[in-house]
Symmetry: C2
Subunit: 142 residues, 2 copies
Amino acid sequence: MPVYDVYAKNCPTRMLLDHIADKWTALVLWKISGGPVRFNQLRRDVEGISTKVLSQTLKRLGRDGLISREVFATVPVTVEYAITPLGQTLSEKIEILAEWAETNIEAVLAAQEHFDKAAGDEMGATAAGAANRRLIQAAGMR
Amino acid sequence: MPVYDVYAKNCPTRMLLDHIADKWTALVLWKISGGPVRFNQLRRDVEGISTKVLSQTLKRLGRDGLISREVFATVPVTVEYAITPLGQTLSEKIEILAEWAETNIEAVLAAQEHFDKAAGDEMGATAAGAANRRLIQAAGMR
DNA sequence: GAAAGTCGCTTTCCAATGGAAACTTGATGG
DNA sequence: CCATCAAGTTTCCATTGGAAAGCGACTTTC
């Protein structure tokens, strides 16, 4: 049997990690794991997602066997997305990640504040300071 | 105490999930959790990452308090990145995700094959054919 | 019977992000 | 004084992402 390694560029597990270690994918899959949901309901629940990205994300999840898609001949047509057994196992892991975020958000915010304060301190009105400030801004650290 | 919700567009936890639910971040953090690593070592170990993205990723991880950075006055200069206690708690969750990927990759590959095969099939005028055609078209797999 | 609304998308357009590769900095050995 | 190495940064172009509009099929409202 093959040896899988996410650190290898061409390993299938790398591709899979690319699919699942994604903000929108995580939010959408977790939401669907709570029960079947329709397209526009997802759009409203997952604040900030665009229909384009939602559509792409659902396609990928469907192809990977993590969710199913069912069409109901109502008017207007209704489409329900539901979690599969395989998807359920993944959503449990994603839930752990999301819970970590909610548990540790304050520690992270504190770290960011500390970091930004230190960056501001170590440069006065010097030329080097101005240069660094520009660097930091370029690095998107504000 | 504020109520955090990753589904809310402007919640700090959403920003945090955005940082951690990312392919490169996950790979880099997990690698560093195995012991202090230098920049170029990371670059070699995490196959496919560019220096630009590695640099940005390390900055973000540092600002979020998940890794530390130590400079050694060797020649040429050496820089070591190490995991922090906070980062260690996260890397354990990320490891769970990566393990899920390695455990379930074959099921996902099978699902993809099944899905793509259905898309490639001739599909006559059967009810099943029509149903599949709808699924495939919706998934944009032509 | 025309206009407006619903759902589930797709398309278009522009801005932001990502990757490949060249360049920089600073100290040293040849 | 040229080449080298670590640790990045910068440049350039391609891919991706988001906002908004369009679409098809059908009902409800005026």
